[in-house]
Amino acid sequence: MNKIGLPIAVGCFALVPFFAGDFYINLGSQMMIAAIFALSLNLLAGYGGLTTLGHAAFLGLSAYFVAWLTTRLGLSHATAALLSIVGTTICAALFGLIALRASGLGFLMITLALSQVLWGLAYRWVSVTNGDNGMTGVTRPMPFGFSIESASAFYWFALTVTTIAFAMIAIFVTSAFGASLKGTRDQSRRMAALGYNVWLIRWITFIYAGFWAGVAGILYVYYNKYIHPSSLSITSSAEGLLGVIAGGSGTLVGPVVGSILVTFLKNYVSSYIDRWNMLLGFVFMFIVIMMPNGIVPGVRRLARHFKGTHR
């Protein structure tokens, strides 16, 4: 299903700039950045059974790297992006070493605590990060000589990256490694007895998830041309997690759908109600209590029901 679905979906998304105004095109770009982030988070939370509340740390870290390397050191976009991804991935490896000393709730608390380190650093190390004022002046690169200043151009750039991300994560998840990852989520004790090195499987996944969150972070800072400590906050991680859960963790499409909804909610509704945080809280509680499996599995179940293949 995904093999034909993906090109069609990408094709449809690519047509949006011809029909919509800049506001919606920009919204679309934001949705795609959120989608990459949610897909990366889903590797851990959905496929790995390791819920983390500190994933935004990697998004923010790579964004800060790019901002600092380009505006303070004057490095080229390509070099900055590369160094940023490498740095973020190394950080993910280190954080994974610490966090994976536990699992379940212990893991959740440690990831939360670790991401707070980076948040605190972004906030207090004013000489480097400019603290609460954030870092401005980030410019967009010119990939292969094309400008991505306009809303449409950036949108297509983001779409390209998102498509690659989706495809690569899909390959990861359907691979033999992906099967063992899902196994460790469902029966980690059994998997160990069957010969799987559960810790190593989780650590590799953690690093890969950190990598893609870093990619999302680079797009993020290019889009906004600005980075602020709040992007590393618990709220930011929670928004990503909400997208994953609402859409349906453990599926590929779920997080994409969920993050599209959360982004829409955040941007659209925010212009009417000022209380995004409170709304986020209510939506969180609602989804967890009412629809714990998320939207996509719910819809799939309905579809199977109507098709009559449900036993």
Binding site: S180, Q187, G195
Partner: protein
């Protein structure tokens, strides 16, 4: 299958384990020879499953040694022991409920293969084919595409065993393989266990005396974590102490 220096398949040397001061394994020693069928008996709480958990490495004994074909595995992690030929089934069904029977057994096969680290390609066709073959051996070939959640309890027990056997283990630990089964299902599983090839040494925990005794060649009787009697089936059955242990409850 070669065994270096004629060593025992599994050897437990003076294992000790306590949970919060309560001793659950007390100075337990046991020898399983290659091809043997050993039954681990004992009333509830005797520490049988805890002993299994120490053999597989999920729990670390406080003192003592565990050797697999002469090799000291006491400090090895569970997944490392699996690669040395140790396999087990569980008292409570620990299958993957959302996945098909085929996938379950395939995961069992994949665990010992280098391709489990393949980040790009899905499980190879060969693994799936072999999984179906193993399912056929236990009489579940027709249900290969069904999700675990949809099959009967007795069939799940068979998948448990299939998964363990698929790995072609050298030492197989069966933790109450007959638990909760009807008489008909019990005889099916019994037949399965009886047909396990001689290359595999089997240690079985079981409560159902009638069935279990038929399958056992040697018996170790455990009580309060201690080995009470240890010997051939007939010797143990005849022993006074066996009756004491069971009647005393």
């Amino acid at each position: 299958m070669t065994i270096q220096d004629g060593s025992y398949a599994l050897e437990l040397i003076r294992l000790n384990k306590a949970f919060a001061g309560l001793p659950v394994t007390q100075d337990v020693s046991m020898i399983v020879r290659p091809g043997e069928r050993r039954l681990l008996l004992g009333p509830n709480g005797a520490g049988k499953t805890t002993l299994f958990n120490q053999i597989t490495g999920e729990i670390q004994p406080k003192s003592g040694q565990i050797k697999l074909f002469g090799r000291d595995i006491t400090k090895l992690k569970p997944h490392q022991r699996a690669h040395l030929g140790l396999s087990r089934t569980y008292q409570i069904i620990t299958l993957f409920p959302q996945d098909t029977l085929e996938h379950n057994v395939a995961l069992g096969l994949l665990g010992l293969m280098p391709s489990r680290w393949d980040l790009l390609r899905p499980m190879s066709r060969d693994i799936l084919v072999e999984a179906r073959r193993v399912l056929g051996l236990v009489g579940l070939g027709d249900l290969a595409d069904w999700p675990i959640s949809d099959i009967a309890y007795g069939e799940k027990r068979r998948v448990e065993i299939a998964m363990a056997l698929a790995q072609k283990p050298k030492v197989l630990l069966l933790d109450e393989p007959l638990a909760g089964l009807s008489a008909a299902e019990r005889s099916t599983i019994k037949k399965l266990i009886a047909e396990i090839p001689r290359e595999v040494s089997v240690v079985m925990i079981e409560h159902d005396m009638d069935t279990a005794l038929d399958l056992a060649e040697t018996i170790t009787l455990l009580h309060y974590g201690k080995v009470i009697i240890d010997g051939t089936r007939d010797a143990v059955i005849a022993d006074e102490r066996a009756r004491e242990v069971y009647l005393g409850h």
